[in-house]
């Protein structure tokens, strides 16, 4: 149990995929224009991440080293397509908002990276823990960026205007804002870690 939690927390902070390992950035920057979209993307990602980890780990006994990459791709691709079909059917608004970033989950470096670095070498339970941790790490990073961009760029959070006197700067909902936002978050996390390290 303690090991399980250790793997989960690892994905949230120490090995946060977006802010520490800095992979899988494309979807984070592109979809964080609003908190709602960020949450949607985060959940879609998590589904694929966790199930891919599970099945890559499950299929270990029959996956020889030489063909492991194609097997990863097939497994991740299958779950990505499932998420693609389900969202297009049941959440058409979200589908339009996320656009090509849903099928692009299959090349998200985080998922393939984790399959290779973790799920292929650990058992199913540990892989679930890692999947959950990484997913939470991804979700909190993309939602944090979404909060910054939606608030500074639109004055709203989840579509609700917070302060009527606040005049938002549209640039934050546009590409420059995404880059600045993530730079800010990475810098903040570095500062935070330094302070935690000092204690």
């Amino acid at each position: 149990m303690k090991d399980f939690l250790k793997y989960v927390v690892n994905g949230i902070f120490k090995e946060n995929p977006v802010l520490i390992l800095m992979i899988g950035l494309c979807s984070v920057l592109a979809v964080s224009t609003s908190v709602q979209n960020a949450i949607g993307m985060g959940l879609a990602f998590s589904f694929v991440m966790i199930f891919s980890n599970i099945f890559v780990s499950l299929l270990r006994p029959i996956t020889p080293n030489e063909i492991r990459i194609p097997v990863f791709i097939i497994v991740i691709g299958t779950f990505t397509t499932i998420v693609d079909l389900v969202i297009s059917a049941y959440f058409p608004e979200l589908y339009k908002a996320l656009g090509i970033f849903i099928p692009l989950i299959v090349v998200n470096c985080i998922i393939i990276g984790r399959a290779e670095a973790f799920a292929y070498r650990h058992n199913v339970l540990e892989s679930i823990a890692d999947g959950i941790g990484i997913s939470i790490g991804y979700i909190w990073a993309i939602v944090a960026l979404g909060l910054i961009r939606e608030f500074l760029g639109n004055g709203t959070i989840l579509g609700k205007t917070l302060f009527s006197w606040f005049n938002p700067a549209k640039v934050f909902t546009m590409p420059p804002g995404a880059f600045w936002g993530i730079g800010l978050l990475i810098g903040l996390l570095k500062w935070f870690e330094k302070r935690m390290g000092r204690r």
């Binding site: 420059p176 600045w180 570095k190």
Partner: protein
């Protein structure tokens, strides 16, 4: 003449107006990871161009001559990424064997390209935009050129940054992203070219 004009607009749009990195947020991993030196940037850009154009052509045929007739459109994502992975493997083997000079220049970047979201992204966009084969090729060339430009620009900035005095917590990636954001702001100016 009109076709040439349209293709030219497509090219400019792909490389500048809708720059793959600064406007579409694709290919960010290599963008951030490979922009440390200008030489590596050019090598990476060349490799991406190579793979992207070939991937566009191959996926074009697979989509319109296999997936569509057999009504298997939902297998699009998996089919494309498998094709790209196989293509990259083949290209690497061929270049290593027959063009060793080229391999020394850009071969090492090839394995990284499989997970480059821009490659899969462009093949999917070709379908979404309904490009024919010529348009797909021109589009891929434009996108890879835009990617190379973005990479070289950021590499140049990072080169200068290494001589500057940067506050502690901005050092490393934070300042890289702030710079990238400024580049994105500049590229936003190209939007006016379209109309």
């Amino acid at each position: 003449m009109n076709i040439i004009g349209k293709l030219f607009m497509l090219f400019i749009s792909a490389s500048l107006i809708n720059n793959i990195v600064f406007m579409r947020f694709l290919a960010l991993c290599p963008f951030v990871g490979m922009s440390t030196q200008i030489e590596t940037s050019i090598g990476m850009g060349a490799a991406v161009t190579f793979v992207m154009v070939m991937a566009s052509v191959v996926t074009f045929f697979i989509y319109y001559y296999i997936l569509v007739p057999l009504n298997l459109l939902f297998l699009r994502t998996i089919a494309f990424i498998l094709v790209i992975a196989v293509l990259v493997q083949l290209v690497e083997m061929v270049i290593k064997r027959f063009l060793s000079g080229l391999y020394k220049a850009m071969g090492i970047y090839l394995p990284l390209i499989t997970t480059n979201c821009a490659i899969l992204g462009v093949t999917l966009l070709n379908i979404n935009y309904g490009h024919n084969l010529i348009e797909a090729i021109v589009y891929s060339l434009g996108v890879s050129l835009g990617f190379t430009i973005a990479l070289i620009l950021l590499a140049s900035i990072r080169d200068r940054l290494s001589y500057s005095d940067i506050p502690e917590f901005w050092k490393g990636y934070p300042i890289v992203f702030i710079s990238a954001g400024l580049l994105a702001l500049i590229f936003l100016g190209f939007q006016g070219l379209a109309h």
